[in-house]
Symmetry: C2
Subunit: 236 residues, 2 copies
């Protein structure tokens, strides 16, 4: 936690908050902070700044906060991600927030097992928690927008053409297209398949709409490494 | 597993192998392969090629293998990594192998807890297993060289100057130096700190030897994302 994320409900007055959950535990046990110390704070989807510890005891910490800094700009990037297996959801969603991706669209794909859609990891509260933990790591306050599209064909046929208007559409798939470009200036939409990859039919649907195939060379990376690797190549 | 890694002890003759462990399970249950099917194979630190299934039953699979392809070239990159907390060791070592890093040197650092050095995850067999799983993901056969340096000062003072001869030395640290460069041509040595970062003293020691500070912008990434992000920026 490089930043303590604050919610509306934490505020007692406009400039003071009381925390008694894992954020309090972190300030007490990891930072080992005492009254007078300062911690980095930020308001969800708002400004960042400093919290001065007024008091800290065995139950809670009281902070006076001054929020005066803009969070870092989001990357102009929408990631379209085939729903990962449940044990990977937490890590991938956290990474999306941590890397500063603006929007995540989770889609179905032939190789996504139907049962994955029933995972408790997709509960709205859990998703928000994973995203918040990425923001707290990265020192950011702006949640990425996350949506779920359970029907592949209506999504790629009806929504995708509008989505890549004025954007560069990129689909990561081993062995097709060009090596992943570095440091592009434009807004982009990046599609990443499931473990085992998109099917040829699915890749074709993206290409039909105007996506360019990109690859990472001879090595096949796991989805979480591919996501971080491509995002990092595309933007400084 | 995009490639089944074969060891000397698997070979019955020069061209035939029998597998009955997790590799057999993978061929049987994930690939659902039958006699006559082919799977991608590679010999540890050797050539890659194809294995044709001669027979598969409830206990083992017999393959005839033809090894005729070079594995992908390693990245000309040595990573110096402060020993991560035990639960991260597996993922980080696997990623190092998956990304094609040539050499990994694991070092001590002020913020590495002493107990981390006692982790069973550092057993030689475990380390080899993590690296092999990265190779099997990436379709590679060449193990990265991995060494451990438990004394920081002798390492940076006595070994580091020789190590970065004819190399570009880079130390990743928030807020110092230049943004991480993209697509460098040269061989490089990249130092990555522990959670919480290197201390100023430690950063100074690297700088003294000729390392350049690099950063990833305003966001602070977790070690595993920083490792993948920087490696991907540096090499195509």
């Amino acid at each position: 936690m490089n930043l303590i994320l604050l919610y509306d409900t934490d505020f007692i007055t406009a400039t003071s908050v009381t925390l008694s959950d894992d954020r309090y535990q972190h300030i007490r046990n990891i930072h080992q902070s005492k009254a007078g110390d300062s911690v980095r704070v930020g308001k969800l989807n708002g400004l960042m700044g400093t919290g001065i510890i007024q008091s800290i005891d065995q139950h809670a910490v009281k902070l006076t906060v001054e929020l005066d800094q803009q969070p870092p700009a989001k990357l102009p990037l929408t990631i379209i991600l085939a729903l990962p297996r449940p044990k990977m959801i937490r890590r991938l969603f956290r990474s999306v927030a941590e890397l500063g991706v603006e929007e995540l669209i989770v889609i179905n794909s032939y190789k996504v097992e139907k049962s994955f859609w029933l995972s408790p990891a997709l509960d709205e509260q859990k998703v928000q928690f994973y995203l918040a933990s990425g923001l707290q790591q990265a020192k950011d306050t702006q949640l990425p927008k996350v949506t779920f599209k359970r029907l592949f064909k209506p999504f790629v046929e009806d929504e995708l053409p509008r989505l890549i208007k004025d954007c560069r559409g990129l689909i990561a798939h081993p062995g097709i297209g060009q090596p992943c470009p570095h440091t592009i200036e434009s807004r982009s939409v990046l599609a990443i398949g499931p473990e085992g990859g998109f099917t040829d039919y699915e890749v074709g649907k993206f290409i039909d709409v105007g996506f360019e195939g990109i690859h990472l060379g001879e090595r096949i990376l796991r989805v979480e490494n591919a996501l971080t690797a491509i995002t990092s190549k595309l933007y400084q």
